[in-house]
Symmetry: C2
Subunit: 285 residues, 2 copies
């Protein structure tokens, strides 16, 4: 049996399951402080005999094995978790192999192996919610190098009708600053789910998301891009993003058939926890 | 013995050499038509007993093994080469394994295995010349997916003092359209090498290149970025690009020490042909 921890900024999901990613038991708990939250995590896992654990964590995290802070959550605005040695704490407790990556990389792995990208070898998973975060699997392996992708913070050209200055504390109007849920709310004065029938809201959103997808396409050339997160509940965004991507790429590179290229998550909200279980299983091979 | 073809838009370099990438003999010929150029290529290789050949070609090329035009040069503006079955022609002639990728991917492989990125597992190779092209090796493997990277055509925010509309026929002011050698020449009315002491030229150039490097960093997280090509002969660009990258990323992600992160090619003009030889050798393993 394997363990999985999907550590989000507002809640943790812990599960035990099989090497094929199927969940046998799970709990969900609020993200408070490492002391409180990790106590509950350990209480849950202590009841099982685990072979390995996979962690997909909110970030930024340190994934660089050469680094002194490998396995830490790093410069998060969630103060109690700043420079918390997450991987070390789990390893100390269980003395078994522990896989460590970002929540979005784990989701990309889940989707590649059991979800919407099972028939290909590479995919990007982008979540558009309170923030914008992306992960990827390339040639079947998690995309990591000196660090991990932070695809949500790329620069984008501003829409001609833009009035909002962007909310990213680091970059102002980067993709996240201008296209995450809070940007929609601050620009239009209402939460996204109340703006469903306002055409201009989703056309502007598609303009930004398509720019991002164009850059991911030109830089990574993935076989599939999966868009998830709260904002993507607006189903009308998918066709708008596809159209806008075609307009922006302007015939320069060949794309897969668009309905197969830009898709909804196959695992719904289970992409991350499934990926964490698969990551755990990979630690033994 | 292995064969290597670095197929550029203006010249072809053919070489034979060893599995460690060392060149024993080489020729250089102008890129004219497939009939003429390939005849000379074959005349050169016919004299050797080769185990495999590696090709790094100008693009766009089709690297998708599922595609009917796998191995072709595709939508190039060089009309005689449009939809030329390059890989097929070489395979037909020699009936040995042939590796096939872009010229810049080959250069990235050469630099990773024998050049400026030997101590790491991932790098981006960007050439800034008549165009802007990028390749990458990730986890030791060439970066390819549905297609190959076209990193030169990402969107960039325009400099506040920009007066030039960009020359990319597909996107106008994408990175290549606004930062390749011809953009410098058209904007400032003189070729780059005559503008060496004009500070504003290289500050603007660094502004664009740093945006690109920021996006590559946020999306790929490579361990090293190698900048080559004619425009990078302006050595003052390296420190300017490093500074500007730091300013734009604004502390959001940890970077390697900058002098180790953004570097000149270790193999000079031999990165591509070395990579092609190594690619040839990889076909047997
Ligand atoms: N149906 C919806 N339509 C548009 N926006 C939505 C919808 N549901 C949630 N959102 C927005 O998505 C964001 C929350 O994203 P979500 O992915 O649910 O959480 P998180 O990113 O915190 O994990 C909020 O900004 C919210 O306004
Ligand atoms: N010393 C230099 N300083 C600035 N620009 C240069 C210099 N040398 C060449 N260039 C520019 O680089 C471009 C040629 O790039 P190069 O890499 O040599 O060839 P290509 O991209 O065609 O393979 C031209 O636009 C040229 O003006
Ligand atoms: Zn940002
Ligand atoms: Zn372009």
């Amino acid at each position: 049996m394997f363990g999985a921890i999907e550590a989000g900024g507002t809640k943790f999901v812990c599960a035990v399951g099989n090497e094929d990613g199927s969940v046998l038991e799970r709990i969900s708990l609020p993200t408070t402080t490492p002391e409180e939250t990790m106590k509950e995590v350990f209480d849950f896992f202590d009841a099982f005999e685990l072979k390995a654990i996979g962690i997909g964590s909110f970030g930024p995290i340190d994934v660089n094995r050469q680094s002194d802070t490998y396995g830490y959550i790093t410069s998060t605005p969630k103060t109690p978790w700043k420079f918390y040695n997450f991987l070390g704490a789990v390893k100390d407790r269980y003395q078994i192999p522990v896989g460590w990556t970002t929540d979005v990389n784990a989701a990309a792995l889940g989707e590649l192996m059991k979800g919407a990208a099972q028939d290909v070898d590479s995919c990007v998973y982008l979540t558009v919610g309170t923030g914008v975060g992306g992960g990827a699997v390339i040639n079947g392996k998690l995309l990591e190098g000196y660090g991990h992708p932070e695809m949500g913070h790329i620069t984008v050209e501003q829409h001609p009708d833009e009035t909002f200055e962007g909310f990213c504390p680091y970059h102002g109007n980067c993709l996240e600053g201008i296209a995450a849920g809070p940007a929609i709310e601050q620009r239009f004065g209402q939460k996204g789910h109340l703006l469903a029938d306002k055409k201009e809201v989703w056309e502007m959103e598609a303009f930004y998301l398509a720019q991002a997808l164009m850059n991911y396409t030109l830089i990574l050339s993935p076989e599939r891009i999966i868009l998830g997160g709260g904002v993507m509940k607006q189903q009308q965004l998918y066709p708008l993003v596809r159209e806008e991507l075609v307009r922006q790429i302007n015939g320069y590179v060949a794309l897969p058939p668009l309905e197969e290229y830009i898709v909804t998550p196959g695992l719904g909200d289970n992409a991350g926890i499934t990926g964490c279980l698969l990551l755990a299983a990979q630690q033994l091979s």
